[in-house]
């Protein structure tokens, strides 16, 4: 394991580093020795055909999936592993739980807790995990709900909210943990077209006003082009091509990227 440092040190260490990360489901290789660095404050969008492993990247970073080879680092510290007697060993559940607090994730189907109001959704983890006292957690949650335009609905249960509203609450819920990295996994894919805008609006606000590191998987090429610092095109478990959005969308170099983009363009 010598090729993997116990800690990333020095200046300009990336907020997120995938180092030679491989993920298999049985014989199927979902990610093949992936190397990917994301700088602090950077917004990276992942695009690609389904089955290319793009969602898996986010799920591994959230530690919802284990990895088979390689190491993932978050803010210089190993996430998938931990140090023991000067060596990296597989992370314990406790280590994972601690590391996960730096990462927030929003899901395609929101996954709000249906038996809690919007506000209760946003204060549960800050109280239980971060140890905030209730009033402080409520103040913080109300600020965030206000930011996503959902303060009026703070006392509603998710069942009474539209998809777009639920997703905005889910974003507030993740932000309430003050993560360093935010992950957006196809957050607009389950939404009706007319409410997609209200969610992208919130993400845009985050990009403009906050120095959050973000990874986003999306099918909305226009939004990706407008908002990303960098776009990665995934194909067959690895990054086929990456670059600034203008370059990747306007002058893609690889044939597969061109094919994918023209297919997507045709569909929309």
């Amino acid at each position: 394991m010598n090729e993997y440092p116990l800690k990333l040190e020095g200046e300009n260490i990336p907020m997120v580093r995938f180092q030679k990360v491989t993920k298999r489901y049985g014989p199927l290789v979902v990610l093949d020795s992936l190397d990917l660095d994301v700088a602090e404050g950077e917004m990276v969008t992942i695009i690609g055909p389904s089955g290319s492993g793009k969602t898996t990247v986010l799920r591994m970073l959230m530690a919802l999936e284990t990895i088979d080879e390689g190491v993932i680092y978050v803010d210089g510290e190993p996430l998938t592993h931990m140090e023991k007697n000067g060596e990296l060993v597989r992370a314990s559940n406790k280590h994972l739980r601690r590391m996960r607090t730096s990462i927030g994730m929003c899901f395609q189907h929101f996954n709000l807790f249906p038996h809690m109001t919007a506000l209760e959704n946003c204060i549960e983890a800050p109280i239980q995990v971060l140890g905030l006292d209730k009033q402080e957690a409520i103040d913080r949650a109300r600020d965030l709900l206000d930011m996503v335009g959902m303060l009026e609905k703070a006392d509603e249960h998710p069942a009474r909210l539209s998809g777009g509203q639920q997703q905005r609450v889910a974003i507030a819920r993740s932000l309430a943990m003050r993560p360093k990295v935010m992950l957006f996994d196809e957050v607009t894919s389950a939404l009706d077209p007319e409410v997609i805008g209200e969610v992208t609006q919130v993400i845009r606000k985050l990009v403009d006003k906050h120095n959050l590191t973000m990874l986003m998987v999306t099918h909305q090429m226009g939004f990706a082009k407008e908002i990303s610092d960098r776009v990665c095109f995934f194909y067959d478990g690895s990054i086929e091509e990456q670059g600034p959005p203008s370059q990747l969308f306007d002058t893609p170099q690889k044939e597969r990227t061109q094919q994918f983009l023209s297919a997507v363009l045709e569909a929309s």
Binding site: R98, R100, P114, V129, A159, M177
Partner: protein, 224 residues
């Protein structure tokens, strides 16, 4: 034709009323044990410890595959051979509690399985501990779908309390038997026992349905 004697009915009613109290006590207490222990069984089958899972599963299977009356006899009569002397009430509560805990554990298990995977993932992504995840996120969502099954077993345990008469718990059936053997009249006591059970079961079932609707509403879940 029937030889139905109302004056005999009035005569035995106070004794049956008292026994009804015992029946309700036995059902309530046994159900209390079953509700708590059943959840313990259900959660115990989800731990990392394979041996615990296996032992609980085998126990649940065993209990579900053998008659309740045998289990009651077993706890009461076989126990003393191992130095465990229990009073009829205690033995009865243990037997019926364990019996229904085994059934309820399956109801809970189905309820827990019905909670969508996304709920677990949301809890994990928020770093909630396993205890918090179960107590705050999973179990509150597992109970409403389990509620109908839990209600069925509440009525079920009530109807099974007469089995406790075999070891001498003075509940309704036991009392009706005593009355019968004292007076040689069985029509009135047994009929009354039936009527009393009906009078308890029917409103209970109706109350449960209303309680279910209320719980679902309170938890913000859709009505079924």
């Amino acid at each position: 034709m029937f030889d139905w004697r109302w004056e005999f009915v009035w005569e035995i009613l106070p004794r049956l009323a008292q026994a009804t109290g015992n029946t309700l006590l036995a059902a309530g207490f046994g159900y209390g044990i079953a509700v708590v222990l059943g959840l313990t069984f259900a959660l115990g089958q989800r731990t990392r410890f394979k041996l615990v899972t296996l032992l609980i599963r085998e126990f649940v299977e065993f209990v579900r595959s053998t008659p309740l009356v045998l289990q009651i006899f077993f706890v009461f009569y076989v126990g003393p051979q191992f130095g465990i002397m229990l009073r009829p009430w205690t033995a009865g509560m243990i037997a019926i509690g364990l019996h229904y805990a085994s059934y309820l554990s399956e109801v809970y298990r189905a309820g827990i399985d019905s909670v969508p995977k996304g709920q677990w993932e949301a809890a994990v992504s928020l770093s909630l501990s396993p205890v918090r995840t179960y107590s705050r996120i999973i179990i509150p969502q597992a109970i409403p779908p389990a509620f109908a099954g839990m209600g069925n077993y509440l009525v079920g345990i009530l109807k099974d309390t007469p089995m406790l008469s075999v070891i001498g718990v003075a509940e309704l059936m036991h009392t009706a038997n005593s009355i019968g053997s004292e007076s040689y009249r069985f029509l009135e006591p047994y009929t009354l026992v039936g009527v009393i059970f009906l009078a308890i079961s029917l409103p209970t079932a109706a109350l449960l349905r209303r309680a279910e609707a209320k719980i679902r509403l309170k938890l913000g879940l859709k009505l079924r």
